[in-house]
């Protein structure tokens, strides 16, 4: 290691120590990547999502430099670029729970050092908009920390600008007691889009929406962990997607109730056309002793083509008594009577199909926007 000539001995030691720490972190992420299984369709957490078609490409990403543009609008001073040297943030990422993507998290840690941390200590007057875009491969991290009692609205957008664009985002969202957060993630235009989101609700109200469009392959993992109960503690997870062509959307969710007396709700809806595939695997986990939990999970799909495929695997894992938990799944073609009604008013077929499909998805987006925030 070369040190600048005017550097004191103490400074040189500190720099060397930081360099060593970083190298150690990189080695650890490499080990993690090597030890964990790459996505494989025989793995329960990856079946149906056609991971075998992407495993080799994902392994290549390990040595591909992360390259993209990050922009944040209307955030004031609360936005801080993520730095490779920030040990706290790296540590947070290392501890993120995944639903089968442990190898990929190792990959992401190797690329660590892009994205934004948002420390929100005042109500947002307008939504903060966070944009990540790339024409190659980008691996940003987002940290959102909403202070107690603060109301915030955040829109995160991911845009792929080239046919082979790939983006792999990790998102850590902390909602403090009494805080209210409405946060969305919209991605479009990627050959491969991956996201691992961890929401930690410490006694606030959080509403989360994902919308993916025009991605050839999307893998979404969303884990919501609920650590506090009481009046006004609520976690809502929504998703609304329209899939066409041969797109694959592979969504995995977990609602983790660590304590009793809290409510969570999930509604994931997809309209699946052509030969596209939608996978939903959801789980509600209620920890031992988390009594009086009120949790709901629903996956609804509309099929527009005989070649479209849906795999829906809702699940419950309840280790407490006295809980109210339910899950549901329904997949069906478009209601012919609804379509006929629109056609009978002179609306052309393509437009009628579009309206009915959008109406179907609007159930999820409307609930997201109806969630209480600062407007």
């Amino acid at each position: 290691m070369d040190f600048p000539q005017n550097m004191s001995m103490e400074e040189a030691f500190a720099l060397a120590e930081a360099e060593a720490k970083l190298q150690q972190a990189l080695n650890e992420s490499r080990e993690r990547f090597d030890q964990a299984a790459l996505p494989d369709r025989l793995n329960e957490d990856w079946r149906f999502g056609r991971p075998h078609r992407h495993a080799a490409a994902l392994a290549e990403l390990f040595d591909t430099p992360s390259c993209g543009e990050a922009r944040v609008l209307r955030a004031g001073e609360c936005a801080v670029p993520v730095s490779a040297e920030d040990d706290d943030l790296r540590q947070t990422e290392m501890l993120m729970p995944t639903i089968g993507s442990d190898a990929l998290l190792g990959l992401h840690l190797q690329q660590f050092g892009a994205g934004y941390a948002l420390y929100i200590e005042e109500d947002t007057k307008e939504p903060i908009v966070l944009e990540y875009s790339t024409d190659s491969f980008y691996a940003p991290s987002t940290y959102i920390m909403v202070a107690p009692g603060v109301k915030a609205e955040i829109e995160e957008r991911h845009t792929g600008n080239a046919a082979e664009s790939a983006l792999f985002a990790t998102r850590n969202i902390h909602v403090a007691e009494g805080a209210q957060l409405r946060v969305s993630l919209r991605s479009s235009g990627f050959a491969r889009h991956m996201s691992i989101t961890n929401i930690q609700n410490l006694g606030g109200r959080v509403s989360h929406l994902t919308q993916h469009s025009s991605n050839a392959w999307t893998r979404e993992e969303t884990v919501a962990e609920i650590y506090a109960a009481g009046e006004g503690t609520e976690t809502r997870l929504y998703s609304a997607n329209r899939l066409t062509g041969s797109e694959v959307l592979d969504q995995h969710t977990r609602q983790v109730h660590h304590v009793g007396g809290a409510a969570s709700d999930l509604l994931y809806k997809n309209v699946v056309d052509d030969s596209a595939t939608a996978v939903f695997a959801g789980n509600i986990y209620v920890a031992p002793g988390a009594h009086h939990t009120d949790a709901y999970q629903s996956n609804r799909n509309m099929l527009l083509s005989e070649k479209a495929t849906i795999h829906s695997l809702p699940g419950l894992e309840i280790l407490a008594d006295k809980v109210r938990c339910s899950h549901g799944s329904a997949s069906a073609p478009m209601d012919e009577e609804q379509l006929f009604y629109l056609l009978s008013r002179g609306i052309p077929r393509q437009e009628a199909l579009q309206l009915v499909a959008e109406g179907f998805l609007a159930d999820a987006t409307n609930r997201f926007y109806a969630a209480e925030t600062n407007d």
Partner: protein
């Protein structure tokens, strides 16, 4: 110019024949009532005319102002001037009433043209007021969570906005209380014009007391078996449909 139905036979796809040779002509400017016992094919006739995919035509023809109606798609029939107020209006979740009507009106404009939004809302609110509807219904999803009466009013609202040439009202009176029946009938009557016709399907005289028909037909087992004036309505009200059954069996 008129709606002319000739020897129309239709059945539920792969099922029994329901319409067995209907002959009917409704000239412009006239209101024709279609009455008949349950299962006689009244609703089937209305759906077949609009092109419902559950039915197939096995014989006959329908001409609307000289155009071959049966060769047109469902949406083309509507844009050509045909309208059906449904017996059971359909709920369309997530699609607001206003957007739905805008899409229907814009479909009638030349390609690329859009309706004037201010004029549209002005007209929509005016029509809603005439029908005694709360303007909050503009933002609500089409018929979703509406009561039976509200759905029927909403269908009549669509008719008023789309201004069809030939309107079919399929049991529009069912589910309406006396006051709502009057309001809806007033709306229909206000639309009566020399360039517009109505086919009013009903079981009961009470609707026809408000919307006075020019001609009354009785449909039985998929055929028009009687045609007359208002005296036929009075006779059915007094004696039921047994006379038709007795004559036809």
């Amino acid at each position: 110019m008129s709606l002319i139905i000739r020897n129309l036979h239709a059945r539920v796809k792969d099922g029994a024949e329901i319409l067995n040779g209907i002959n009917l002509e409704i000239p412009k400017g006239e209101v024709h009532a279609i009455m008949g016992p349950n299962g006689s094919g009244k609703s089937t006739l209305s759906k077949v005319l609009c092109g419902h995919p559950a039915y197939e035509i096995t014989a006959g023809s329908v001409e609307m102002d000289g155009q071959d109606l049966l060769s047109m798609s469902v949406d083309e029939r509507s844009r050509a001037g045909l309208f059906l107020a449904f017996q059971y209006p359909v709920e369309v979740p997530g699609v607001s009433n206003a957007n739905f009507l805008r899409a229907a009106l814009e479909a009638r404009l030349p390609k690329g043209e859009e309706i004037n939004v201010v004029d549209f809302y002005k007209q929509l609110r005016g029509r809603m007021k005439e029908l005694g509807m709360d303007t909050k219904f503009t933002a609500r999803a089409v018929n979703e969570g509406f009561s039976g009466g509200e759905k029927k009013r909403n269908d009549v609202l669509q008719m008023m906005m789309l201004e069809p040439t030939y309107a079919i009202l399929d049991e529009t009176d069912s589910g309406l209380d006396v006051d709502a029946l009057r309001v809806v009938s007033d709306g229909v009557n206000a639309m009566r014009a020399p360039f517009r016709s109505f086919m009013v399907i009903t079981h009961y005289k009470r609707l026809l007391d408000y919307i006075r028909p020019d001609v009354v037909h009785v449909l039985y087992k998929g055929k028009i078996v009687r045609t007359g004036g208002f005296e036929l309505v009075d006779y059915i009200e007094a004696h039921g449909f047994d006379f038709v059954r007795n004559e036809e069996e």
